[in-house]
C-alpha cells in the first residue's frame, strides 16, 4: 500500500515542516537556537484540548486559541529571557541553555496541570468523514492537516518574500546593525518573530495531537529532535530548507517504518539524514553560519 503510506508521509511531513519553519525562523532572525520550541508545540496541543473539553470550543476556535497562547509563550520567552541576554551580549550557548530550562519548566507545568497520562480529543470534535480514492483511504482530518500546514507556510513564504516586514526580517537575518541603520526596530521584530514562530509551533502541536489523537506532556521532546534534524538538513535559517527537510523526514520516517522496521523507523530516518549531511555538511540550502554584527 505505497499510496496509503505516501499520504501518511505527506501529512506527517507537512507538520514537521510547519514546526521546523518556526524553529528556523527564530534561528535566522534572532540567531538563537530556541530549544523551548518543542515544549511550545506541546503547549499548543494542551491549550486546544482544554478549550475543547472545558469551554466546548469548536476545533477552529481551539486552533486559533492554541496559536495565540503558544505565540504569547514565545513572546514572553523572548521578552523575559532572550532580550536581557541580548542586552548583555551573552555568548550563543547561553540563550540555548536558557531555552532548555524553559522547555523543562513548561513540560513540568503541563504534567502538574494535566497529569502524565495520554489525553485525547473527544472523538466527535475531530473532522469526520473519509473517502476512498482507488485503494487509498483519505481521512478528512488528513486533508485538513495538510491544507492548514501548507496554507500557513504559504502565508509565511509570501510575507517574507513580498512585504516590507519580510524584507526587514531578511535584513535582520543578514545584519542587525544594517537593519537598525535602515530605521528598522530590530527589537520589535525580534518579538514579532518569536510570537509568530511559537504560534506556528503551537498549531503544529494541535495538528500532531489530532493526527495521532494522543497528547502527553512529553510529546515535544521527540518533535524537538526532529525539528533540529530538519533545520540542519535544510540549512540553518533557510525557509525553503525547512519545508523540504520536513517533508523529507516525514517520508523517510513513514517509509522506513512501513518497509524496513516498524521499531527502527526513526533510526533509519536519522541515519539517512546523517548520510546526507556527510555529503552536504551545511545542509541542502545551507549558507555559511555567520553574519555581520
Amino acid at each position: 500500500m505505497l499510496e496509503q503510506q505516501l499520504l501518511n508521509a505527506l501529512t506527517l511531513g507537512s507538520v514537521y515542516a510547519l514546526f521546523a519553519l518556526g524553529f528556523t525562523l527564530v534561528f535566522g532572525v534572532l540567531a538563537v537556537i530556541n530549544l523551548s520550541h518543542g515544549a511550545v508545540f506541546m503547549v499548543g496541543s494542551y491549550v486546544a484540548l482544554a478549550l475543547i473539553t472545558h469551554l466546548q470550543a469548536s476545533l477552529w476556535v481551539a486552533m486559533l486559541g492554541a496559536m495565540l497562547a503558544s505565540g504569547i509563550v514565545g513572546l514572553l520567552v523572548d521578552m523575559l529571557i532572550l532580550k536581557p541576554l541580548r542586552a548583555r551580549n551573552a555568548p550563543h550557548l547561553i540563550p540555548m541553555i536558557a531555552t532548555i530550562g524553559v522547555g523543562i519548566m513548561l513540560t513540568s507545568a503541563a504534567q502538574g496541570l494535566f497529569g502524565a497520562e495520554v489525553l485525547r480529543f473527544p472523538e466527535e470534535t475531530l473532522p469526520a468523514g473519509e473517502f476512498v480514492i482507488g485503494d487509498v483511504h483519505v481521512r478528512a482530518l488528513e486533508i485538513a492537516i495538510v491544507a492548514i500546514a501548507f496554507l500557513l507556510m504559504a502565508v509565511l513564504f509570501v510575507a517574507l518574500k513580498r512585504t516590507q516586514l519580510g524584507r526587514a526580517l531578511r535584513a535582520i537575518a543578514e545584519s542587525p546593525k544594517a537593519a537598525w541603520l535602515l530605521g528598522i526596530n530590530v527589537e520589535g521584530l525580534f518579538h514579532i518573530t518569536s510570537f509568530a514562530a511559537a504560534a506556528l509551533g503551537g498549531i503544529a502541536g494541535v495538528l500532531i495531537g489530532l493526527n495521532f489523537n494522543a497528547i502527553t506532556p512529553f510529546m515535544g521532546q521527540p518533535m524537538l529532535h526532529k525539528g533540529i534534524a530538519v533545520i540542519i538538513l535544510g540549512g540553518m535559517g533557510d525557509i525553503r530548507g525547512a519545508l523540504i527537510g520536513g517533508l523529507f523526514l516525514g517520508f523517510a520516517e513513514v517509509i522506513s517504518k512501513a518497509y524496513l522496521s516498524s521499531q527502527m523507523g526513526d533510526a533509519v530516518a536519522f541515519g539517512l539524514l546523517f548520510l546526507i549531511l556527510l555529503v552536504r555538511p551545511s545542509g541542502l540550502f545551507g549558507r555559511k553560519l555567520e553574519r555581520k554584527a
Partner: protein
C-alpha cells in the same frame, strides 16, 4: 546659516576604553562637513553614536533643536538622520530593488517613495539596470552607490557617510564624490567621514580633524587644505 546638528562634549567608550573623548562640532544646514583622521581616530565610533548604535558615555547630540542623544536608532532614522555605514553595509542576500525599497522603511507615502526611487535610478542608472540582481553580486563601486541610493530612499535631512571611498578605484571615487556634490547641491546636509583627506576637504565647506578621539583642528575646507599641519600629517607632506 542655521545649525542642523550640534554635538557637545561627546564621549564614547568600549568597555573602559574611551575611543571618543569629549568632542564638540556642529553641522550647518545645507553644507558638506568633513570629519577626517587616521585609522582608529574615532571617526566611525562618533558616527555610530550619532545614529544611536553606540550609547555615549557623556555628552549631548542635538538635531534640529531636539535632543536625540538617547533615542533608539530607528527613531533617529525617523528624524531624518541616515547613515551609510563603513564597508558598504548593503544587504547582499536581497536584490538591488529590495535594498532600495527597504531604505524607505520609515516612510509610508507610497507616491513619494516611488518618486524617490525614480530619483535614485536617475542618479545611479547602473542600479536600475541591475534592479533584480542580488546586491552581493554588484561590484564594489556599485555597492557603494547602492548604499548611498538606499540612504536617499529614506528622504534624509542629514546624510552621514563613513568612508564611501574605501577600497574603490580612483575613477569610481571621483564619480561618487561628484554625486555627493550633486545631492548636496539639491539641499541635503552631509557629514563626510574620510581618510581620503584631500578629496573630502575639496568638496567640504567645513572640516574637522580628529586624532585619537579628540578634535584637533576645525576650519573651512579650503583653509584646512592649505594648513601645513594637515599637509604634513594627511596629505603626504
Amino acid at each position: 546659516m542655521s545649525v542642523l546638528l550640534r554635538v557637545h562634549d561627546l564621549a564614547v567608550a568600549y568597555g573602559h576604553i574611551e575611543a571618543v573623548k569629549g568632542i564638540n562640532f556642529h553641522l550647518n544646514e545645507g553644507e558638506i562637513t568633513a570629519l577626517v583622521g587616521a585609522n582608529g581616530a574615532g571617526k566611525s565610533t562618533s558616527l555610530l553614536a550619532l545614529s544611536g548604535l553606540l550609547k555615549p558615555a557623556r555628552g549631548k547630540i542635538e538635531f534640529a533643536g531636539e535632543d536625540i542623544t538617547r533615542l533608539a536608532p530607528n527613531k533617529i532614522v525617523q528624524r531624518g538622520v541616515v547613515q551609510v555605514a563603513e564597508g558598504r553595509a548593503i544587504l547582499t542576500t536581497l536584490t538591488v530593488a529590495e535594498n532600495l525599497i527597504l531604505g524607505a522603511y520609515t516612510r509610508s507615502d507610497k507616491a513619494g517613495i516611488a518618486e524617490s526611487l525614480d530619483e535614485v535610478y536617475q542618479l545611479f542608472p547602473r542600479l536600475k539596470e541591475r534592479a533584480d540582481q542580488f546586491a552581493g553580486n554588484l561590484s564594489g563601486g556599485e555597492q557603494q552607490m547602492l548604499a548611498i541610493g538606499r540612504a536617499l530612499m529614506a528622504k534624509p535631512r542629514l546624510l552621514l557617510l563613513d568612508e564611501p571611498s574605501m577600497g574603490l578605484a580612483p575613477i569610481v571615487v571621483q564619480e561618487i564624490f561628484r554625486i555627493l556634490v550633486e545631492i548636496n547641491r539639491r539641499g541635503l546636509t552631509i557629514l563626510l567621514v574620510e581618510q581620503n583627506v584631500r578629496q573630502a576637504l575639496k568638496i567640504a565647506a567645513h572640516g574637522y580633524v580628529i586624532e585619537t578621539g579628540k578634535i584637533v583642528l576645525a576650519d573651512s575646507g579650503a583653509n584646512l587644505l592649505a594648513n601645513p599641519k594637515v599637509e604634513e600629517a594627511y596629505l603626504g607632506g
